[in-house]
């Protein structure tokens, strides 16, 4: 009987594979039943080291309004409160950034972890910390935040641990400054960790220069840039490096590391007083990111007697990232610039201790990455660093041969002080303070939109940009050739920007930063070509705009790509060859108004048709031996409409030679088959059901903690950029009147606890295009009815 008991105890107290220890996990006193809670309790909590008590009023949506005597207390409280609601996520994201997921998941995460290490995520975080070390003020706030998080962690016991720790059977470790730096690296990688250098190099060797340039032009024929074309740059003294004679270095890789999703993007815009119905500047922002639970954003009001700021924070970073105060509002979209290049490294021998550089050899530094593996042996990954950066690819990792590797040069490794930019923006009162705040921000380069109560609007494209020769870094570079180095950086004051343009509005949607008159080299690394035009046309469509217009633009489902491509497709179709079922689909899509609304079937038809068409057209890019990227949508449409008989139209696997017209028909028939069979299984193919947007839990969309089949329209490339699993991760509209009036919403909820009603209580409103009012409380204002108050006190 003792043995039975021992077995039972062991069995219920131990994890088996991914099954949690059932006794522990289900027991009412320490298991998941303890996470069955929605509300914060009105109480006094102890937070040591505060100079004065901090008051926190939680509103209906669990948004904390935090009032502290000074900034150190404020950011300490921010750390504590954020951890109280988002601890698991905060830590998980930093572990994902650092390449430490194998500690949680075992061997299954090893490949992912190696990739993170080999990209130099830890290296970049350490460099950022080095830069920040000289900035004692910022370091003080980071310390305070850290102490706040750790004070919360110290209150936890087995029962109060977030449920994910219980499921996965591990516990939080203390928060560190490095974790904040890792979180910022996580964002940098998400937004500036995408390049196509190998893919373009491969395409260049495969198709030749002329064909490549036709498919991947530096500028599309129609660009509505971030900085309006009327902006002139003539008064700048500019020097651009010369391209070396042997600037091309052809080499081939079969597979490259997984890159951030191309749908990561954003919209922002602002109108000045003359273009606003009320005469108050209005600003909006909606960053498009992966739709996850817990949400990437956590909304807070953070106030001291000197500054009062409201907006979206990133759990793990100090201050507000996208928000407003009494005087200004700001937001960001991704600048989508090519700030990551690859250098081919020729090692002297297999020891990889030296590599060729000009006529000499340069030494490498070895960074041994110890990857702890749950239930396994620690994996030691040897990553060699050159003066460019880490050799990501070598024969141990996706590379080809022994004495060769490919090193990454990335502005993400330079070590910026982004945290300082954010904190200065939180406190900024006018344009000059905004512009000054941006200077510390290196990567990920962002389009910072700005509006002030006094009537200024502006937009700076801020980041640290290498000053490239024309074409530099579009393809693989030769690391042994000193001429291939980045020759310097664009001076910060020459970053493209505009203040109070004549047109009365500023906007950005990840499109080209400027037109071709901008003196520095900017190449098309996947710039938007549709959202930007819809947004700018909207603001050109009438004299004045109000908040209702802003809401309607956020939720605008107009599919400009369809409007430009579909008529061409429809016109060229031989409808005699269509069956009755196909004809029905054809008529449906022909009658469509080009809005991707949830209750329409036509968007499903168009999107399916277009996807199949793209695959058929770019069949030449399906190559198992070469990593390749297909051309962007805009150029796809351009080729189909301007060069319908181009050899690329041909499907290589068939006998006959296809033209665009053939492709339209073939892809339509294939799309029809897909849709009809979908309809048989699901009853209809209305766009909302067909797209089936979901918000997935950070643990690989664990169904129990995710939300599926959300009724929301749009798609990528549409202003309402909601695709299946990407979309507006935070929508904010701020009108800067006497006191700021703001709306916000995000696809999630303030609590990270799946057992809380506030885990996902904003999702339905978000999907419906609604907002919640962000209640900007004056400093020290009394709580309203329905609010719950917590006091943080040092004793």
């Amino acid at each position: 009987m003792l043995a039975v008991n021992a077995a039972l105890f062991y069995g219920l107290n131990t994890r088996f594979g991914s099954t949690p220890a059932l006794g522990k996990f289900l027991s009412p006193n320490q298991g998941i039943w303890q996470n069955e809670t929605s509300d914060v309790e009105a109480n006094t909590l102890q937070l040591e080291g505060l100079s004065a008590p901090v008051t926190v009023h939680y509103d209906d949506y669990l948004i904390p309004h935090v009032f502290a005597a000074n900034k150190t207390d404020l950011y300490k409280a921010q750390g504590y409160i954020t951890a109280q609601h988002r601890l698991w996520q905060m830590e998980f994201q930093t572990m994902a950034s650092a390449g430490r997921l194998s500690e949680i998941f075992g061997e299954a995460a090893l490949e992912y972890d190696r990739r993170q290490r080999r990209k130099g995520m830890g290296f970049g975080a350490e460099n950022a910390l080095k830069t920040m070390a000289s900035d004692t003020e910022t370091m003080g706030y980071l310390e305070a935040y850290k102490e706040g998080v750790n004070a919360y962690i110290a209150t936890l016991d087995e029962a109060s641990l977030p449920v994910e720790y219980k499921m996965l059977g591990y516990a939080p470790e203390p928060w560190t400054l490095k974790k904040t730096a890792l979180l910022l690296m996580y964002m940098t990688d998400m937004l500036a960790g995408r390049d196509s250098d190998f893919e373009y190099t491969n395409a260049l060797s495969l198709f030749g220069k002329e064909r490549f340039n036709m498919l991947f032009p530096d500028y599309f024929d129609r660009v509505d840039p971030v900085i309006p074309s009327e902006r002139e740059w003539d008064d700048w003294l500019v020097s651009i490096p010369e391209a070396p004679a042997d600037s091309l270095h052809l080499d081939q890789l079969a597979a490259t590391i997984e890159r951030p999703h191309p749908d990561n993007g954003s919209n922002n815009w602002a109108v000045g007083p003359q273009k606003s119905v009320s005469g108050n500047p209005i600003l909006a922002n909606d960053p498009h990111l992966g739709l996850n639970l817990p949400s990437i954003w956590y909304v807070m009001q953070l106030a001291t007697p000197e500054q009062n700021t409201f907006g979206a924070t990133l759990p793990g970073a100090v201050g507000i990232v996208i928000g407003f105060n009494e005087d200004i509002a700001w937001g960001v979209t991704n600048a989508t610039r090519d700030v990551r290049d690859w250098y081919k490294i020729s090692f002297k021998d297999d020891t990889k201790k030296e590599y060729r550089y000009g006529d000499t050899w340069k030494p490498t530094t070895l960074r041994e990455e110890y990857i702890e593996v749950r239930n396994g042996e620690t994996f030691i990954d040897s990553v060699y660093y050159t003066h460019y950066g880490p050799v990501t690819y070598d024969e141990t990792f996706k590379g080809n041969r022994g004495a060769q590797g490919y090193a990454m040069k990335w502005t993400g490794h330079l070590g910026g002080n982004n945290q300082r930019t954010l904190l200065e923006l939180n406190a900024a009162r006018n344009y000059d303070e905004y512009a000054a705040a941006l200077k510390h921000f290196l990567a990920p380069a962002q389009n910072f939109v700005f509006a002030s109560k006094t009537g200024d609007i502006a937009l700076w494209i801020q980041g640290k940009f290498p000053n490239k020769w024309k074409g530099q870094g579009k393809f693989l570079l030769d690391g042994s050739n000193p001429d291939h180095e980045w020759q310097g950086y664009i001076p910060q004051k020459h970053n493209a920007h505009i203040k109070n343009p004549e047109r009365g509005f500023v906007s950005s949607a990840n499109q080209h930063p400027t037109d071709q008159t901008y003196p520095y080299y900017v190449f098309n690394d996947g710039y938007d070509t549709y959202r930007s035009r819809v947004i700018n046309n909207f603001f050109r469509s009438k004299e004045k705009f109000d908040v209702a217009d802003f809401k309607s633009l956020h939720n605008n489902n107009y599919n400009l790509m369809a409007a430009e491509l579909l008529p061409v497709m429809l016109d060229s179709m031989d409808t005699e060859t269509l069956t009755a079922d196909e004809m029905e689909l054809f008529n449906e899509v022909r009658a469509w108004d080009h809005y991707n609304d949830i209750d329409k079937a036509a968007p499903s038809i168009f999107e399916t048709w277009k996807d199949i068409l793209k695959d058929m057209l770019w069949d030449e890019f399906e190559n198992e031996d070469l990593a390749l990227d297909k051309p962007f949508n805009y150029q796809t449409v351009y080729m189909l409409t301007h060069y319908p008989n181009d050899p690329f139209m041909d499907i290589t696997a068939t006998e006959e030679t296809e033209t665009a017209k053939d492709l339209f028909l073939k892809s339509f028939k294939q799309a029809a088959t897909t849709l009809i069979s979908w309809k048989e299984r699901n009853g209809n193919y209305q766009w909302g059901d067909y797209k089936a947007t979901y918000v997935g839990h950070l643990l690989q969309d664990l169904p129990a903690f995710s939300r599926f089949k959300l009724p929301i329209g749009g798609n990528s490339g549409i202003v309402n950029a909601t695709s299946e699993d990407h979309g507006p991760s935070w929508r904010m509209i701020v009108e800067l009147g006497e006191t700021p009036k703001a709306l916000g919403i995000y696809p999630g909820g303030q609590s990270g606890n799946p057992g809380s009603k506030h885990y996902d209580d904003m999702i339905d409103k978000w999907a419906a295009g609604e907002y919640i009012e962000l209640d900007f409380m004056p400093f020290g204002a009394a709580p309203k009815a329905m609010m719950t108050t917590q006091t943080l006190n040092s004793k």
Partner: protein, 116 residues
């Protein structure tokens, strides 16, 4: 009579001990009470089982019903129980009950060993 006494004491002791121990406090409780109040045959298994089955079932219900079973439904989904929170409560109670039942048997066995 002994059955009812054992039942009540096991439940109360399990609740009290678990205030300071992890979940396995229920096993100590069942063992101790069955050592002090040994039961006969089937009851030696059934009574501690019932005591903790009821304790855990009621605790789980009380903790989750005030929150509309939000977490319970999700964990039920996690365990492929079709969002059925009550089934999850049943399984919770069953696990607690079984752990207590076997500890109870051990308690009785120890008592027998000591008195023999």
């Amino acid at each position: 009579m002994k059955n009812i006494l054992n039942l009540i004491l096991t439940a109360v002791a399990a609740w009290a001990i678990c205030l300071i121990t992890p979940w396995w406090g229920i096993m100590i409780a069942a063992l101790a009470i069955s050592f002090l109040i040994p039961l006969k045959k089937g009851a030696a298994f059934l009574i501690p089982f019932l005591a903790v089955f009821l304790l855990w079932g009621i605790q789980a219900y009380l903790l989750s019903s005030g929150n509309d079973l939000t977490m319970a439904k999700k964990i039920a989904t996690l365990f492929s129980l079709n969002e059925n929170a009550y089934l999850l409560m049943g399984i919770t109670a069953l696990i607690g009950g079984l752990a207590a039942a076997f500890s109870g048997l051990l308690g009785k066995q120890l008592r027998t060993a000591f008195t023999a």
